[in-house]
Symmetry: C2
Subunit: 301 residues, 2 copies
């Protein structure tokens, strides 16, 4: 990912190096490479694909952190915490371009179209969130949002290797669905950890989603059991709730059965993902993918 | 360009419709289609390419206007004048994705790689401008900047059709250089019009570049004849110059021989561009490209 900055401004290299140094789990590229090895796809193309995925992900985070005014990610300062908004927007754009360039080098036009569609899906999800009035179906709105935000990129991580490898439609569909399910589970668990994780390991205050008026699955499942759930949901979304009440609510969600119920939903997705893999070649990589699917719902819990 | 918004948030369609309604000269897609027709490239692919070019251009303008805090472009409000910074960043990202999607539909992997490289070049130019200390060679710095800002996109407009059409290396190189030269001339003339155009037709105050500390070719050629040119250049770049002195300087540049000298430079580029076309097929489209090259240096002068 750090290769070939020749001729470009050193600040761009520094920014990217800073962004990549934060580590992160690199779960998307790992899943992509394992899925590709399982399907016997050429390693050179897999690495380009995996790097493109991580770049696309990084670029969206750069713009998101700017939009949200986030100062820290994974415990290190965000780009916008150090640089002007202008330089941050441009660096995100540059990383998008590098992602597209890497994707093109895989030699698959279908992959590039899918990359572009995925970016549209991600952005469309964020725009919808910005402009959305009160949705009729809060859970459906939640699942739509996490598809756009997270599952769509997991989907292309695994479906993309089937495109590069020229696999048949059934394999493509299996891999796409596997990626989708792991992605949904991953995001549900992230949303659970926002309540149950300790501030240090999550890297942001407990209940930060709810503090921003964002209703995630644990909150929605909690509110379903609450007599005045619908009104409370509205107050939360519109941030018309006082500090004390908010703290009490975060604590109530955190200690309620809603956490366990949300985890069950996540587990159902990973189990379905695991089942899909039974039709795939029984390689060590398939075993590793199953381990990752299980890790997704067990991490930090 | 407006096709296939199915399933995406109506605000994105509205934003794009607003952006495209402003018209503009559409010179890049026009040059691309004429060049492609001249080389007998399939029209369906040319239209996708031309639309991708205009989309990429539009996306960069959306982010630039946000970064510069510009409120008007082509006489109509910019997106950032109406929307939040967040929605504006995201809309630009969405348009980048659509540009990539259109480019992929041309079926040329080389074109997509070139698109991605062009976006990197454009962004790298802007980043360089943001971080640049005093350059040693002010004219070289100017030409580097206008290559990144304008000529690179003209270059891919014309070189891209050679990639789509699978033309030989010589044709590719001729078309690339033609696009480059027209682009450089176009930007030089834009920079002249910033001094000589009337505020209404240019859509911004006379001398707006200099007011922002941006030294363009007319200013550089003027300063070359000025005994204290180098120091004055520094003061201008660092905006350490009082209002009255600035107004006088704008007036001095505007009425100086530097304007004519800059125009001569632009004309030399378009003439070289014209000469390159003598080796290309003598079609009506070649004639139209020559007309456009001439128009580029004559418009509004």
């Amino acid at each position: 990912m750090m290769r070939s900055f020749d001729g470009h401004h050193p600040s761009l290299g520094k920014a990217l190096s800073h962004l990549l140094s934060s580590g992160g789990k690199r779960i998307r590229p790992t899943v992509a490479i394992l899925a590709g090895k399982m399907l016997d796809v050429e390693m050179e193309h897999l690495i380009l694909h995996a790097a493109a995925i991580e770049m696309l992900h990084t670029a969206t985070l750069v713009h998101d952190d700017l939009i949200d005014g986030a100062m820290l990610r994974r415990g290190i300062p965000t780009l916008n915490a150090r640089w002007s908004a202008g330089a941050t927007v441009l660096t995100g754009d540059y990383i998008f371009a590098r992602a597209a360039h890497l994707a093109a080098q895989t030699g698959s036009l279908e992959l590039i179209e899918s990359f572009a569609s995925t970016l549209m899906t991600i952005v469309n999800g964020e725009i919808t969130q910005l402009f959305e009035l009160e949705p009729d179906d809060l859970q459906q709105s939640y699942y739509d949002r996490i598809y756009a935000k997270t599952a769509s990129l997991f989907e292309i991580s695994t479906a993309g290797v089937a495109l590069i490898g020229g696999c048949d439609d059934e394999t493509y569909e299996t891999m796409r669905t596997f990626g989708h399910h792991i992605g949904v589970a991953f995001q549900i668990v992230d949303d659970i950890l926002d309540f149950t994780g300790d501030q240090e390991s999550v890297g942001k205050p407990v209940g930060s989603d709810l503090r921003q008026g964002l209703l995630t699955l644990p909150t929605l499942l909690y509110l379903e059991q609450h007599e005045d759930g619908r009104n409370l949901a509205r107050s939360l979304r519109e941030k018309e709730i006082d500090e004390l009440e908010l703290e009490q609510l975060i604590d109530a969600v955190r200690t309620s059965p809603a956490i366990g119920l949300a985890l069950q939903k996540a587990e159902r997705f990973t189990q379905q993902g695991e089942e899909l893999l039974t039709n795939m070649p029984a390689t060590p990589e398939r075993g590793a993918l199953i381990e990752i699917a299980r890790y997704v719902v067990r991490r930090n819990l």
